[in-house]
Symmetry: C2
Subunit: 336 residues, 2 copies
DNA sequence: CCGGCACCTTGGAACGTTCCAAGCCCACTT
DNA sequence: AAGTGGGCTTGGAACGTTCCAAGGTGCCGG
């Protein structure tokens, strides 16, 4: 028997013996209220368990102080730090972050965004949306929006991206410095960011006068397994493998190990993303880290610029990845 | 220059040449509307990009059809499936799920819950709240609430729990069946669910006439490392180690390997939780799986029972874990 | 003693919906 | 021809806030 009716500002006003306007003033921490009335109101509010109704408030203010975030997939560990970044930056600016998910289904994602729009959040962050750009382009007509974890050409939408091109370059640089010359990239055909990683790999290799070896893979462990099999057939074999992401690298690792090769003594292996398990000492995967938290805070900053009206031109920001050197990479075998 | 003013029901009414009430009827898919007016309204709404204002709606309906979820930590992979379960069940019942986080800080968690309360969500799911029960107990006064991923005695709050006691029993059963008699449990002193796992381990062992070996560990890789060192000092050494969770098991794995022991030939290792990396073939950790998705859907069902007023008595539900047998467990060495 | 001013307090309008009671229209019955 | 009823449509009240203009009160200076 939960009492469904929450106390309103009028209940508080009556109990404290003041007008509703005064209660409103106290709740918004206005300085123009006498100390005794303030205390009386606060006391009454506490006794009644009063809590302002966000709906009524947003209706008259025409502002919600809410940032909505549509996350395509809560299961993707890449997002967790990013979301914390959003939360952090929103809080700092006096906003609250509210999250939503489409469970990886485009239609549901659209409906999740719709929920956010109906709530009239002051801005929307879209984390790797999977629906079409056509749908995307409608959003900024009603509210400032920014896409992260994916690129988009949709008009009126800001973008925060990791510089995948540069990330690949960092990795090639690292491997070359160790002495590798035959480096293979296992790329993820249609995956988000995969194209830029591949392209970065190719240009990094050719810029150093090396021949880029490329094998098709994907972003899953199974794809890594398949790719690794293809790798072993290459002649000459590469001395280092750079997978499109950490999960695929794990598939590669398994195949290499069961083929009797030692990592990194016989062959070096690297991934991309620096997911949590990459740092387990049992794995110790060398990889490229994206500043995920920063991507989140940056997204909020872009939103705030638009909310405050200080910008209306489209902006796309890239953040710099860093190399994380662990134990799966080392010098090539002496014979090479 | 995003136009801040979204079209209202009145704009649609004017454009379609009908009253606002009729528009409202169409939006709510009432059957008592003539086909031509319905089309006219829908057309006008589409042209204007009209979207109902959730705040105004919730104000008069006294219902939001929203389920709020406070997640203590988006980074905990345990939650992702759980959240999908919540989303799924909410959608099925005509509700939308909205997520929130406290970034592991008790004070922030309280404020995240407050945001949900101000929004007047029709129910609240608390995923492993870290704040005190005193604070928890206030929530059900305003709205139905259920806690998951943690136990609580707070009045008026429902609970959905994994049966950790049974999970330990499953694991002991598995190891004993393989032939192990000296089994050690690495327990996590104050962690959520740790007490039940330890207790389950002890009673499972004694019920089989075996001596429970217990070493202090924790839920982190470092704790696993420390615990594993203590394990190696035991005399006689255990032939199997059951860690409090998968992450700690990874710490154990590393120590055992660098001590030159093979898993599972020389010693068996198991974890708890079945996190994503446990299934990587390079790891292949035997573990206990909690039906995370089911925990999420169950939580929503409990909420709905209260929302519909069909129950007001407190309910606590436990869900059954299952054993996931992989490659880190096997028969003890023949000498034993 | 009055006016002015600062400070505090107040009622009413507005925000965008839903709900309700009532109205209109037309076909059908008697 | 009038009455009845059903199908469709409508205006106004209500939801719980904030904002605004205006009202009080008390003190100070002239």
């Amino acid at each position: 028997m939960a009492k469904r009716n929450a106390p309103t500002i009028l209940d508080v006003a009556e109990r404290a013996g003041v007008s509703k306007s005064l209660v409103s003033l106290v709740m918004r921490e206005s300085p123009n209220v006498s100390e005794d009335k303030r205390r009386a109101v606060l006391e009454a509010a506490r006794e009644l368990g009063y809590r302002p109704n966000a709906a009524a408030r947003s209706l008259v203010r025409q502002r919600t102080y809410l940032i909505g975030v549509m996350v395509s997939d809560f299961g993707n560990p890449f997002f967790s730090d990013l979301l914390e970044g959003v939360e952090e930056a929103a809080l700092l600016a006096g906003y609250r972050a509210l999250f939503n998910t489409g469970s990886r289904l485009p239609a549901r994602e659209v409906s999740a965004v719709d929920t956010l729009l109906q709530l009239r959040t002051d801005g929307i962050v879209l984390a790797s949306p999977r629906f079409e750009d056509r749908e995307l382009a409608k959003i900024p007509r009603s509210v400032p929006a920014v896409v992260v974890g994916k690129n988009t050409g949709a008009a009126g939408i800001d973008v925060v991206m990791n510089d995948d091109h540069h990330g690949s370059d960092l990795m090639v640089e690292h491997l070359v410095r160790l002495g590798h010359r035959r480096i293979a990239h296992l790329h993820a055909v249609p995956g988000a960011g995969a194209a830029a990683r591949l392209e970065g790999f190719i240009s990094a290799m050719t810029a150093r006068g090396l021949d880029p070896m490329v094998v098709e893979g994907g972003f899953t462990e199974a794809a890594g397994v398949a790719g690794a099999r293809a790798l072993l057939d290459l002649d000459p074999r590469p001395t280092a493998v750079f997978a499109a992401n950490d999960v695929a690298a794990m598939g590669v690792m398994r195949v290499l190990e069961s083929a009797g090769m030692r990592i990194p003594e016989d062959i070096s292996l690297a991934g991309y993303d620096n997911v949590d398990f990459a740092s387990l000492e049992h794995i110790g995967l060398t990889t490229v880290d994206q500043p995920r938290r920063q991507i989140g805070t940056m997204a909020v900053e872009l939103l705030l610029e638009r909310i405050n009206g200080s910008r209306s031109r489209r902006r796309r920001v890239t953040v710099e990845p860093t190399l994380i050197e662990r134990t799966t990479t080392g010098p090539p075998p002496p014979s090479d």
